[in-house]
Subunit: 271 residues, 5 copies
């Protein structure tokens, strides 16, 4: 009994950084930065008005498409793409099967003893707490699914904001370059200034391309991907908690979980 | 009783400006304008024939795709993207639940007393007026939904007009630039005029990019977004008025409303 | 009786020009023309080989995608985008309700008296003629719907031809410009010819952009839009004629018509 | 009897060239060729390495996407876009109704007399042969439909190969131009070679644009169009043969055929 | 009997290279290489920082969109596009029909004798092994289909990674070119360096176009194509093994297989 209870002790979730996002960002910008430094004049790549036009303009136009609060919420959600505390779906399934077995053998009330070890998984914790409080399984599942749905919608809206930003950033870069070109062409008196002026004009196109292709577009993809993963884990938790609340046989729960897990992640807890 | 009637007094709807649209427009054009003024010769960015070609041409071509009245209606609908009098769906739900409770306790005819306080919400006012006049709930709902549908279609058509304009504006800019380039290349006698002529030629491309990316495209997105929000609030009103007309239990109405509200906006009027 | 018969006299359909198409075409080309004339050398914008390459090439390539007869039919259908004899759906509904009331009160055969006044609406005329000849309502509706379907398919195919042309025109313009550039670059001996040669090379890109964005693409949109409007009116006629043929109550017909009319066009013939 | 049998003698199918494809190809390339010859130096438009890069490269990359046999099969199917032996659907329907009437009046075995006149229509010939051999109507239809399905799939796959080629040809043109530009820029010693080198570099872009827009893309559209037409005719044949095999009344067959024919092609064989 | 058993000896699967991929890659890069060598200075096409920016940057940004393991798995799956051990679906069907006939005549246990000859087809081997072990046909099919589904999902995800890479490679090329242009324009002192600097700047655009159009995009298409082919063969195996497990008549199996095989690949094992 002791070892079975031990088995369901929740290991602290790996709340590390999302390796792919960080490595991608660091390598990408590192390569760009190296190429710029190798060229000798890194200062010529900094142009404050250009940065303001591209970043500020993209922000302004994206905000026009949505509401201020939706854009701010997107910034807040961005940490999900860098600090990804995703538990493996298989681990989540095995953990929830362990809890279900404990509940079956020692009764639902015995779950109170493991509540504190679940505090790193607020979604699971909330569900088990409701079960221990005697909320019927069906109602627990409805409440948890409503929570999941709200999270997915929030992430989807934020991904849309990022996609719009990735669409507008190159356009703002082009607008900045056109401003620079018109200004340069209007004063061609001194040929020696043509080169530097044109370089400055091209900078906003450069900023726009970098922002869209190395920040907004990949972050939107990553946000959608991580949201799918989180939904999968939460789905496992919701099915598990509902099954515990209905006091079903854990073997039936295993079958149920395997039907939603991707093939490579299926578990075999009972032999 | 008094406090319950007080609770349903409709607070004047916040008919302020849509912060996101105004801030976005002001910031976006402010940034562009600053960049132009910093360059020293703001006058070189004004080219009346260019403005006529891009704005007039886009208008002409967009009108060809639709009818004159559809284009004019779009201009009229644009104020919806700047002055957005949207009530929060939760507030609308609570307000309608308050009215439903009043109707249940004091009878439908008592709603006549609060009619004037609803005048700022013409859609709700129209519905309650029909209920007070004794129109059956089903019929009220059909009439209100027909109104909603007409509004959505009108907004959708206007958003389509804006999207078409966003599609044609850069094309008209390109056409203007080609005209300028051909004219410039045809008279290369005086090399000193090449720069200014080319600057003027590029201006139409600039106008087209600004119009499409900073005006038409974001306004189309905002129009669709605000139309969705308005539809959601009107849907809450229609369901509420129909429920009052059918003299249903307000608790059932609360359940119904929560099924259409987005998760974050659900209400709990009765405990 | 007299005034009711008078009420159904068909006013000659407004077979005027489609204001939006004509105004759009005139304004668009007027703006372009003005910009060209202001530049001083309108002759430099005429290049017969360029016109042949872009118009002829677009026609040739579009013909390859379809058959010769489909392309010719498209040219014939184009007048639908300029001379639009569309009756308002509400007017059509009221007219058909008037005829239905007349048929109900004086019998179907009495419709013979108003046949000639319907000659400006061949679709309605054909339907009423069949009803007067004693063809059963169901059969009349099938025949009329078959006609409508054939018209819609014909218009859809023509719109597709125009869309393909709008797709190929800029490509042919690019091909023409590449030919011009290669020829110019091959003989750089006399620098003074570079400018004019390049101007000529750019002309085909200009022609392609104008053709695609100011002619083909808007005409395709307009054709689809007018086809939808015509279908709506013909649908009203088909439903009306079928109802007269079945000798139904005109009040039922009114309900039926309102279910297919867009909200803003619904009619109330009977009070 | 004689005249009825005469009526079903199959006129030799018009196996002429597909006018639209040939006229389009000839006119398109004729216009391009004229423009090149008018420029004076047609030789400057021939660049063997450029032709190899664009045609060879497009072929190589398209082959990578598919298999060697699929690409070869596409080349074989191309003749369908030039030599189009399509019979008119109405003609096919009348012909099959004639055969059906003959079979009904003189018995199925009498069809043996007209077998040789059908040899120009292998699909119909195969079907009638099976019916004469006593194969039941249902089985004949299944076999013929399987044949039709195989043909459609084969044509669809070939159209996809052409579309991919139309997608890759401009990309290969760009790659060739970039190679030429890099080579030219690397050796700017003699300014007099800049023009010709750049002309050569632009040639691959020209080849790619011509190949994609004047060959691959229109041929893909035409292949799909002709495949649809052929399927329609074969569908008429399959329905007819099945009906003959089931010894149904030819009048019923006429109704059936009219339900699949496009409105403009419907037939009235029996009065 | 001997000859029937001989007939089902599995010929070693043709695990050769995928001709189309290898020929396409070799020819494509051969053409490009030849064009570069003919230009005289192949060394000017090698630019290590440019290669790093385009390849490294594309890898970095693609990794950001997915997870590190998904990108690594894509590299591992790439060999499927070059070494394609696909058996022909018809061959697979005939082979499985041979095994089914053997099982029917000599009993399922007799299949143990041919197990080793199946070792080159692990999927079929696994299925037959389960049948010989007495696993019921339904369960074998469920397990095999779960395997197939896992493989398809894995290939689909890898194809998506390749498509994203094909999308980002040209963008990284553009970013590299912009860096080079800004650096060049910033130091225009010595006009003789303009050419070479610009050549270097264009190289990243060249790398990006080559990577996207000649590597990533065709490999993604090929991966999807080969995955479809493999699924088809595995589907034949799964249906065959399930049928053997259920001890059905092989003639019924033939009918079943023909319903999933494409028309050109249908088999007729029994006459």
């Amino acid at each position: 009994m002791a070892e079975s209870r031990a088995g369901i002790y929740v290991q602290p979730t790996r709340t590390g950084v999302d390796a792919a996002t960080v490595v991608g960002l660091v390598c990408g910008f590192g390569l760009i930065g190296t190429a710029i430094f190798l060229g000798g004049q890194p200062g010529s790549f900094v142009n404050v008005p250009g940065v303001l036009i591209v970043i500020g303009g993209t922000l302004a136009v994206t905000t026009m498409c949505f509401s201020v609060s939706e854009v701010l919420r997107t910034v807040a959600v961005l940490n999900k793409t860098i600090f990804f505390s995703g538990r493996d779906p298989s681990e989540a399934a095995i953990q929830v099967l362990g809890i279900a077995e404990l509940a079956r053998r020692q009764g639902v009330l015995s779950l109170q003893n493991i509540m504190e070890s679940l505090s790193s998984e607020p979604f699971l914790h909330k569900g088990i707490a409701m079960v221990v409080d005697g909320t019927p399984g069906e109602e627990v599942e409805i409440i948890l699914r409503r929570d999941m749905q709200a999270t997915v919608l929030r992430h989807q809206k934020s991904a849309n904001v990022l996609r719009k930003a990735a669409e507008f950033a190159p356009a703002m870069g082009l607008i900045g370059t056109l401003i620079g070109l018109v200004q340069m062409l209007g004063s061609l008196d001194d040929p020696s200034t043509i080169g530097p002026s044109m370089a400055v004009a091209l900078l906003t196109t450069f900023y726009g391309a970098v922002l869209a292709n190395m920040v907004f577009s990949p972050l939107a993809s990553k946000l959608e991907r991580n949201s799918n993963e989180e939904t999968l884990v939460n789905n496992v938790y919701a099915m598990g908690v509902a099954s515990i609340g209905r006091q079903e046989n854990p073997r039936r729960l295993e079958m149920l979980l395997n039907s939603v897990l991707p093939p490579a992640k299926r578990v075999q807890y009972f032999d």
